[in-house]
Amino acid sequence: MSRDDATADGSPHAGMPADATAATPLTESDPADDHYDVPSDATVVTCPRCGRPFVRERHRDLHLGQAHAGLGDDERAAYEAARDEEADELRRFRILSLGLLVVIYFGFLFLYAVAG
């Protein structure tokens, strides 16, 4: 499936959160080149503007905010909620990866002390 929305290349909407205010679209630069493969029995969340299929509502809401201009109030609210949820999960991932980095660092410190 490919999509053909003219709005994807428009500037993102004013009033978006800080890191989404650049003059260029922030994701999915060349929509016509995207190819999807949706299993026939899958639950699909579809973008109402361009028909892109998503696995989760959160992905669709984020996509709407990033790729389409002129969101309705509901869509804006959904986008902001999705961003908050995404940010929370990212924070958890960061803490986890920081922990992992510490383990790698001290693990190798130990290995070098023993074997190096």
Binding site: H35, F54, R58, H59, F93, G116
Partner: protein
Amino acid sequence: MDRHSRSARVARRAAPLAVAALAALASAARVAAHAGGVRSATRETVTVPTWLFLATGGAVVGASFLLASAVTDRAYIRRIDTWGRALPDAGRVARLLARALGLAALAVTVVAGLFGPGTATESAAVLIVWVGWWAAFVLSAYLFGNAWPAVDPFRVIAGALPSLDRPYPERLGSWPAVAGLLALVYLEVVTPMADDPRLLTGLVLGYLGVSVVGSVVFGVDDWFDTADPVSRLLDAYGRVAPVARGTDGGLRLRIPGMALTDAEWIDGRDDIGFVVAVVFVTTYDGFVGTAVWADIARPFIEVGAPALIVYLAAMLAGYGLFLALYLASARAARRTADTYLAPGELARRFAPSLLAIAAGYHLAHNLATALSLSPTLAVVLTSPLSPPATHPVVLVPGGVGGVGVAAVLGGPLLAVWVAHSTAYDLFPDRLQAVRSQYGVTVAMVAYTMASLWIVSRPAGAPPFV
């Protein structure tokens, strides 16, 4: 050329096992790894056990993925990706000069190869092809920009002939280029191509013949842009470089490697196959020079299998496995990222990042050659048919070996960032972007460890051939 094959994949699959097993062995047999074992050049001995050396390399790539994923500002990632300056195009005079230079180099190669001295270090043919072209020119393609289309003498000669302009069979795609690249590396490995000027000249003329026939039948642009392995190889390396042609056709300066986030030039599985072939031939070339390959091949040779077949089988099996491994990592991305993007689409978008790895590996293996033998090339070129008896060889300082290890690591680090940037471009959810990279990162870690393993082995000539 750079080497390695079947056991890159063996090493990949066995890496965790090997680390555990080697850990047990290491206390008994402490291996001094020769880091930067660039053929005949550097000999810098690292005194840590090989397994630790490899594990550290793998961990550096893995850790860099974790660090890259801490950068979550879409606008910032996008800015790095799209930063660029338009550059003035080379003028007509420069283009004519480049073309003349290419033709002159080809002429000198053929004449010196056929009628000049027969020893490798005195032959202008051997030095032009291996030092001037394969080491220095290819290096310039990914460090600065790919100038091959301007220089390519084969294209000039083929383009001067009339063409039948038959339509290029689309279903063949880039597979002829894949086959051609594998064939060239195979010939380089199983024949004394690097030592025998006559044989090398034969190959150059053979390649010219194939190019001429191909472009006479299908048209010069179709042939050289799709099926010609050498043009495609340099084009692929050139995408790592900071200078490249933008979408408008003008030259553009970008941050090195960022052109790899554009995958428009990858049409389908054939182009993915070509990228994987570029990574694979580097590895195959290195691997067949190691003692492990001799041990693997010996039983087959002893039962009477012809060495040429054993080498070919190893190459095809290794390439098939490399391709399968990469496609599997793309399929894994579909699962981990929770997306309906087709596996083929994911494979297509992440494929160019692998070229950074191939470039790093090429640099590791050829920088010393380019530096140490360039003066020899210059001196021999002053009189290609009867070169002076003594020629200078630059003693490459030991630090260059360190550059080799840095390049083997630097390639994957760049690749990790390219994959990160690509993932942010693909997915609306940043968690998806992070998770989509798990498979590719595992492949990159495994690949780096295999490369470091080869670089740490003393390099020898391929056995039995």
